[in-house]
């Protein structure tokens, strides 16, 4: 009987472990392989058509399932959306005459239109032909590419930094002007307005100059074009600068393939999304998630800890405190979307709206804080997770023995000194446990954020080089929402399926990393306050 029970308990634990392993395996299997360069197969079909692409799936043809040996069909990513339309094609294996892996087949990852599969035939500068033939073009492409990357960097810096700064200043001046116009006019107003006009004029001419420079740079950048011949013989003209990455996957050794893999993974981690999130990286989402959790922690830790301190140390224990405690516990069970609605009504409309009226009247009717933003998202999640922190802190405080408190009081310490210098440090590991749970919960929460500031694509990170550097009012991207958006809201769902798994895996990694840091801190505290004798 006892053995049976042990086996049952062990089995239950085993099942749980299996679930965890399965979860990670599914994410890793589906997400990690995506970045590895797959071979590009050239298929000649019975009707004379030629297809070039990556073979992704193979499955029985539905109609032939009853036959002894069912016919198979394959799913091929053929890309070339600008030439042919669909990204993917199902091909019945019975129609395939021959298969080959042409070493000269090239995959161009582009800024627009997705992948291009074909063979390089020509490299041009304007009308001048620089080289012809697959091998020659490949060699000169790679040489030219290095230089182009530098030029792209220069153009980008010009666009982002210098023109961005001018735009920022112009917006500032516009608001300043409006502020002067809104405010009751005084003796200095006309002079100030004139000063702004002069400044605006200066900025405008600078903007003109910078734009011209950018235009010239673009001209240069766009000068070289690559002519690629697709499998069916149509030719595509691709400006060099639009090529994100060019790979000849059938011609790669393992080391080269690994380099391509790492560069793709790095792009995924550090890049910005392209093509409505279906390509490129997810750095803004990682950044948004981590920053949101940080702000949330800074809000929830003092709020929860102080509330718990009052409940446990100062409040007179009785029916009222018991009721409050029950209410706090029940708060943890309120559906998260309800917190989102509360955040929208309270933080965004009421507090944010008021802040706008008082501090940013010149920007109205464009809201500054009166719309969803990372601060409101974080505060909403802080409310959502505060019960977790309160409960854990209370448990931590309750575990500090009475004799320790009395020891402090007997030395002439006041109640506050005792709580602050003895009880709270002793309860710190428990408090941190609560914070860890709160962070884990907040990092995974999506629903409430959708209505208080999380967006599909944020134009800028919440931290940048412009004063005041941290922009709490900005909208932000979030890994959890990104998963949903990429998987189910994107124009090319089929292509982004692996990204769903890769992003989910990354979310798990981010949450785990934050937890590991917090747990390390807690364990250091535990070791410091080894609770053996108390």
């Amino acid at each position: 009987m006892g053995d049976g029970l042990t086996a049952l308990c062990g089995g239950a634990l085993g099942l749980n472990l299996l679930l965890v392993v399965a979860l990670l395996s599914v994410l890793i299997y589906n997400g990690v392989g995506y970045f590895w360069p797959r071979p590009v197969t050239r298929l000649e079909l019975a009707d004379g058509a030629v297809v070039l692409g990556e073979i992704l799936d193979r499955e029985p043809v539905f109609e032939s399932l009853d036959a002894g040996v069912p016919a198979m069909r394959i799913r091929v990513k053929v890309g070339n959306r600008d030439l042919g339309g669909a990204d993917f094609r199902w091909i019945d294996e019975r129609d395939i005459v021959s298969r080959s892996l042409p070493p000269q087949a090239v995959v161009l990852e582009r800024v627009e239109w997705g992948n291009l599969y074909g063979t390089m035939v020509e490299l041009r500068r304007g009308d001048e032909v620089l080289s012809t033939g697959p091998e020659e073009v490949w060699a000169s492409f790679r040489l030219l590419r290095e230089r182009k990357l530098d030029e792209i960097a220069v153009a980008r810096r010009l666009e982002r930094k210098e023109i961005g700064a001018v735009n920022h200043d112009m917006e500032r001046l516009r608001l300043e002007r409006k502020r002067l116009e809104v405010a009751p006019s005084s003796a200095e107003t006309p002079a100030a307005l004139r000063a702004i006009e002069v400044e605006q004029g200066r900025l405008e001419s600078r903007f003109e100059a910078l734009s011209q420079r950018l235009f010239d740079l673009r001209e240069d950048l766009l000068a070289e074009t690559l002519i690629v011949e697709a499998a069916d013989g149509t030719r595509a003209e691709v400006p060099m600068v639009e090529v994100v990455r060019a790979v000849r996957p059938n011609d790669l050794g393992t080391a080269q393939a690994s380099r391509v893999y790492l560069s793709r993974v790095w792009e995924f981690l550090s890049g910005e999304p392209r093509e409505s999130n279906t390509e490129g990286g997810i750095f803004p989402a990682i950044f948004g998630t981590v920053m949101m959790v940080f702000i949330m922690s800074f809000a929830v830790a003092p709020l929860g800890v102080l509330a718990a301190l009052y409940l446990r140390e100062y409040a007179k224990q009785g029916p009222v405190v018991r009721m409050v405690r029950i209410a706090v516990n029940n708060l943890a069970g309120v559906p998260s979307i309800v917190f989102g609605v509360f955040g929208l009504g309270f933080f965004v409309y009421l507090i944010g709206g008021t802040i706008d009226q008082v501090f940013y009247p010149e920007a109205l009717p464009t809201p500054t804080y009166g719309t969803g933003g990372i601060l409101w998202g974080s505060l909403t999640l802080a409310l959502l997770t505060v019960p977790v922190v309160i409960v854990a802190t209370e448990e931590g405080l309750a575990a500090v023995p009475r004799v320790v408190r009395e020891g402090s009081l007997a030395l002439g310490a006041t109640k506050f000194e005792t709580v602050w210098r003895v009880v709270v440090p002793a309860a710190a590991p428990g408090i941190l446990t609560g914070l860890i749970l709160a962070m884990a919960r907040a990092a995974g929460e999506v629903a409430p954020l959708m209505i208080v500031g999380m967006v599909k694509l944020a134009p800028a990170l919440p931290i940048d080089g412009y004063f005041p550097f941290v922009h709490f009012e900005r909208k932000f991207m979030h890994l959890g929402f990104h998963i949903y958006d990429v998987g189910f809201q994107s124009p090319n769902v089929e292509a982004t399926k692996p990204l769903v798994f890769a992003t989910a895996l990354l979310l798990v990694v981010v949450v785990t990393a934050m937890n590991v840091v917090a747990i390390a801190v807690r364990n250091r505290l535990r070791a410091k306050y080894a609770s053996s004798a108390v």
């Binding site: 023995p401 320790v404 020891g407 007997a410 030395l411 002793a426």
Partner: protein
Amino acid sequence: MTDRTDGAKAVSNEDKVKVDLEAAPARAIASDSQRPAAPTPQDVAQVTSPAIADPILDVRSLSLWYGTSQALNRVSLVIPSKRITAFIGPSGCGKSTLLRCINRLNDLIDEVRIEGDVRLEGRSIYDPSLDVNALRKRIGMVFQKSNPFPKSVFENVAYGPRIQGVNDRRRLEHIVESSLRGAALWDEVKDRLADSALELSGGQQQRLCIARAIAVEPEVILLDEPCSALDPIATAKIEELMMELKEQYTLVVVTHNMQQASRVSDYTAFLYLGELVEYQETEKLFINPVKKQTEDYITGRFG
């Protein structure tokens, strides 16, 4: 908070258990304690109190109730300066409660009601205008269970001075060293000052608590069964230390252990069921007790 009321209840329950479990004499005393015809405390004091030349604490007709159960009944005694005074008696007799009245630690417990007075050098410690925290700086305490703070050895001892606003590192180091020397712990922990206090042995922890108490230079040190959780060697060290400490401090010790009381104390008070039965020079109380109850207790007939 609940554990506090539980604690209060435990006292009264223990009383009842004692009464139920003890043999006939205890029962007789128990009924006697309701005493329709008992002598007044003043009478008792005259018969069973020693003459004290140099008093520091004066407990005057002190009664204490936890809720409705009475834990102390009109206890009066005078505690001499720079001597060791021991409180003995069976569990639940109120000796710890009496001790905790001296530094007003009972204030922290809900539903405690106190009558009577305790005077420290002539001034009432229950005077509403008195600063309790200042009082507790003058009257240190060492608890039954060693209760070092979850901090380093150094910070444990430095805690009291820091509370009093001493932040100068050199001065703190000086205080910590002299306090640890005073508690006969310096040689054992001088290389471990930064270690957690909880890594020390039980006896070392208790001496650390004594060092912590003397770091604030109190006048009186209350010791609540300081050796009950220690082995005989550690106990001997603490007792030796107490003998040294009485050169400078007034010590009041609650103990279960009558040998300990007879070994270390100069005066001994025997409490039973919340009443002071007899208070004498230790030698006199153990060799020639006035009261029958005292004799029964010290000869081991009950308790």
